[in-house]
């Protein structure tokens, strides 16, 4: 630690630097400990330890519920998807090889479950197979001038729900994984079994479509 400091550096600055490094050190260690804990929990759960299995479920239930809600836009469907996802996890945990993160594996189960549900219902969604549906002739979308409502506002939530419900789940899942959950393009591709260019193309169209829908609704 001493190597970071110049001899004439004020003591207060030394303290700040050493504190920052210490915080970084603690954060890195916590992350590693969490990973080790999780690996251990998975191994124990695979071996039939029900406490470890229960802990894994507790650790991920909110993430899974939230992602399911973001895709389904319905509380009952999100809860049902969460239950189905963890049932699948328990059934297939012995196949989990640890090459990807457990969260990535769970996202994939949620995505597959949602897609199957939509395919069964044969719901019609807006076609986004080419750019015509999202390209606008003129971008006069200066949202800075609009009186924005807070997300607590029910009307804005309704606008967001209606816009995303028009979007096909194939596009919705890519948008949610990449933009909302913050996964990388590569991780999104693995979960959705799409190539990196296909993820980028769907993401671009999903963003543009949602922006256009929200813009139209806000200007009504």
């Amino acid at each position: 630690m001493q190597n970071f400091f110049c001899t004439d550096m004020p003591p207060n600055l030394k303290l700040i630097i050493s504190n920052k490094n210490f915080i970084k050190f603690v954060e890195t260690n916590n992350k590693l400990l969490h990973q080790m804990d999780e690996e251990k929990m998975i191994e124990l759960a695979k071996a039939g330890n029900r406490k470890a299995l229960s802990d894994l479920v507790r650790n991920y239930e909110k993430t899974v519920y939230n992602f399911a809600f973001k895709i389904c836009r319905n509380q009952d469907k999100a809860e049902n998807t969460m239950q189905e996802t963890f049932l699948s996890m328990i059934k297939s945990l012995h196949q989990f090889d640890g090459n990807s993160k457990l969260s990535t594996w769970l996202y994939r189960i949620v995505a597959n479950h949602c897609l199957m549900g939509y395919r069964k219902r044969k719901h019609k969604f807006v076609e986004l197979d080419n750019d015509d549906a999202v390209v606008e002739d003129k971008y006069i979308a200066d949202w800075d001038t609009l009186p924005f409502k807070s997300l607590e506002n029910a009307e804005l939530k309704k606008i967001l729900d209606e816009a995303i419900k028009k979007l096909s789940p194939d596009y919705r899942i890519v948008f949610m994984l990449r933009d909302v959950e913050g996964l990388s393009t590569e991780e999104t591709g693995k979960i959705t079994e799409l190539s990196v260019p296909a993820v980028k193309s769907r993401l671009h169209r999903a963003r543009a479509f949602l922006r256009k829908e929200i813009d139209g609704a806000l200007r009504k």
Binding site: L53, S54, E79, D142
Partner: protein, 81 residues
């Protein structure tokens, strides 16, 4: 979009990555030149960022009882935390 959160470089990176272009490529540089001088494009990208931000913040809490029902479905209700 919040101006503090997104800077021009990250916007450019987004656009150029979507196009499969390097930040220093000819196409990327010409896009940057256009963006610097086009208020419509600037406001468009701000609204795209705002769109993403809305969906990021729009979360739903698990309904009351959902945890208990989940543990019951998984037959893990007897396992204490």
């Amino acid at each position: 979009m919040n101006q503090e959160k997104v800077n021009c470089k990250s916007v450019m990176h987004h656009i150029c990555e979507s196009l499969g272009e390097d930040l220093q490529s000819e196409k990327c540089i010409s896009i940057k030149e256009h963006l610097d001088n086009c208020p419509d494009c600037k406001s468009y990208f701000r609204s795209v960022e705002k769109t993403i931000d809305f969906y990021k913040k729009y979360n739903a809490d698990m309904p009351e009882g959902a945890h208990v029902r989940l543990m019951s479905v998984l037959k893990l209700e007897s396992i204490r935390k």
